[in-house]
């Protein structure tokens, strides 16, 4: 069987850790700012915001000609006191970081890109969304992810790269961020504590 060489950004994150376990029979090269939980034989410790040509040149041999790049690295919302800080960091990681990833991919002849996008790109103007709906994000996460998609589309059109964006619903599983409502419910259930749910005029909260 042909072994694929796949670059995974954010391979030490929630989905990244599951993905690298799943793809053990392939040749995986991880790119992450963190070395925590890193079990890969080959990985590059680097923030995607710093993924410039100069900084990536030493890794040319590792990356060049890879069959695909799966771009999972993204800004993870956390509670902060300064909203401006999180907004800038969000766009810096999701937009500038994605631009870096695409530019390096092109330079190192990686023609297949898969972007982990989000349902947040749609906004909340209705309940059921199809891909051809106009995206009107209402959150900074949605706005920055939509721009990340636009960057992928631009590189696809200009350079013939093959880019696919997957707009993910809320993902749950082992190692999920503890900021998710699901994680909150589970932690309380394991302690047999009271679980509080909010009932709005429109019914129980449907957003997690």
């Amino acid at each position: 069987m042909h072994v694929l060489k796949i670059v995974v950004t954010g391979h030490t994150g929630f989905i990244g850790r599951h993905l690298t376990e799943r793809l053990l029979d392939q040749e995986i090269i991880g790119v992450s700012r963190s070395t925590a939980n890193d079990k890969l034989a080959r990985s590059i410790q680097l923030d995607i915001r710093d993924m410039t040509q100069n900084k990536m040149e030493p890794y040319r041999e590792d990356l060049e000609g890879a069959d695909a790049l799966i771009h999972l690295a993204a800004y993870r919302p956390i509670i902060r006191t300064g909203r401006e800080d999180s907004l800038v960091e969000n766009f810096s990681v999701n937009v500038k970081g994605t631009l870096n990833v695409l530019a390096i991919s092109r330079r190192f002849d990686i023609g297949r890109i898969i972007l982990a996008s989000s349902k947040a790109v749609y906004g909340d103007c209705k309940s059921l969304f199809i891909e051809s709906d106009v995206a009107k994000p209402v959150s900074n996460c949605g706005r920055s992810k939509l721009l990340a998609e636009n960057i992928c589309e631009t590189f696809a059109e200009c350079y013939g790269m093959h880019c696919t964006a997957l707009r993910l619903a809320s993902v749950f599983g082992l190692g999920m961020p503890n900021t998710l409502v699901f994680a909150n419910f589970l932690a309380k259930a394991l302690k047999s504590e009271i679980i509080t749910v909010h009932k709005h005029l429109t019914g129980y909260e449907k957003w997690i």
């Binding site: 093959h162 749910v197 005029l201 957003w207």
Partner: protein, 135 residues
């Protein structure tokens, strides 16, 4: 609310890896089975065999949930979720139990006594996360 189990996302990523018919395309990856927070809390309690109760807090806000149509991914990528919310929770908890020993098991055995300090639980959840990443 659209909630999807991580294994289904991995399946979608693998399907996307082997598909390159066009230069740019977007696909929704969702569960197709919406759930609200009350039902989610109830299902988590049931699956975890917990003694938790649910407290409902009414608000005067309006909020709309977002759900993703997945027909496009199903038709083009030949992908659809294999897990329901119920089977996903059960799978998740069984992995947590397998990989978080001894914390999670002790937690389950002692839960009815209601005498665990909260940090024990946090340690158990943290253990499971660490286990997942290092196995």
């Amino acid at each position: 609310m659209d909630l999807i189990y991580v294994d289904d996302v991995l399946n979608a990523l693998e399907k996307a890896l082997s598909w390159k018919a066009s230069t740019f395309e977007v696909f929704n990856v969702g569960s197709k089975s919406p759930i609200d927070t009350y039902d989610l809390a109830a299902k988590v309690i049931e699956a975890a065999e917990s003694h938790s109760t649910i407290k409902i807090v009414e608000t005067n806000q309006t909020r709309r949930g977002v759900r993703l149509a997945i027909e496009k991914a199903s038709a083009i990528l030949d992908w659809k979720p294999k897990f329901t919310i119920e089977s996903g929770i059960v799978e998740f908890l069984s992995k947590m139990e397998l990989e978080a020993k001894p914390g999670y098991r002790e937690l389950k055995e002692n839960r009815s006594k209601q005498d665990l300090a909260s940090h024990d639980v946090e340690n158990a959840v943290s253990l499971s996360t660490k286990s997942a990443s290092t196995s």
